[in-house]
Symmetry: C2
């Protein structure tokens, strides 16, 4: 029917409307989502997810955490955490034991195998971070991180008071 001129691209490659790209919030949403998607697929081979990784990180940082404090620290629903801990426990990466001082509580510990797994996840996570930030040089990466941290202090309740009035 209509003669498509051969030198033009066969279809206009899809592009975001400029008005959206001009919005920082839009870029933040899309980049955050893309980073999550990428991470989820890369973690797949490990049999674990970034959620498990975050739990292991929290456990290694302060030992003897209770399930509630882990959930609060990471911003997870407590019901959600139960299943994640079940999976970690099945693989022998964490242990649960009742707090004898308050037998409602479960004290969660990371095991030696858990630390090994954590180190593997750290390496993977570092590769993902490098890939994400590959367009930026080290100084730019630091500036970006600092700017995001400022936003996080304001908007992520759990990040408050990280740089104590170091404005």
């Amino acid at each position: 029917m209509s003669i498509t001129n051969p030198e033009s691209p066969p279809v206009a490659l899809p592009r975001f409307p400029e008005e959206l790209v001009a919005s920082t919030a839009f870029l933040l949403k899309r980049l955050g989502f893309a980073a999550k998607e990428k991470a989820m697929s890369e973690y797949e081979n490990t049999g674990l997810t970034p959620y498990h990784h975050a739990i292991l990180v929290a456990l290694e940082e302060d030992t003897h955490e209770t399930q509630g404090s882990i959930a609060d620290a990471l911003g997870y629903d407590r019901g959600q955490l139960v299943g994640l801990l079940d999976e970690l426990e099945e693989r022998g990466l964490v242990e649960r034991r009742r707090d004898q001082a308050d037998r409602r509580r479960q004290l969660v510990n990371i095991t030696p195998d858990g630390r090994k797994a954590l180190n593997r996840l750290r390496a993977l996570s570092q590769r993902l971070e490098d890939d994400l930030l590959s367009p930026l040089d080290p100084a730019e990466r630091q500036r970006l991180h600092e700017l995001l941290l400022r936003l996080a202090e304001q908007h992520l309740p759990h990040c408050a008071r990280l740089t104590p009035t170091a404005r």
Copy 2:
């Protein structure tokens, strides 16, 4: 039981592990998610969502778009777009009509009411953007946007070639 010393905070306010906060990808994910949550709740009063907003933006930018081109431009699933357009059409904000040159296609137009609604959504979106970026001064906001744009060009397929080698 144990005497809690009175000057200490009653409970340690939950805080992300430092190792996570040190990750730019983590901040990106959380901030993007928080921005989306905030937007979704603020849009609620309008009866529309950021998805509808993006569609209206796309429609005003290039007119006479077909549903497929809208879906591709915004990265939406085509099946998902149908429902969103149904809702916009019910409210009289867009019109669908068959392309007489290719009767498989639906040409979508924004209506005058759609433009009015779009302007309201723009104002709302601007308020959200200002709130999100409130910790940063104008120069910092621009730097952040530029850095995110560089990442987007690399990682969001639809953002490629926005600053043509303007490094």
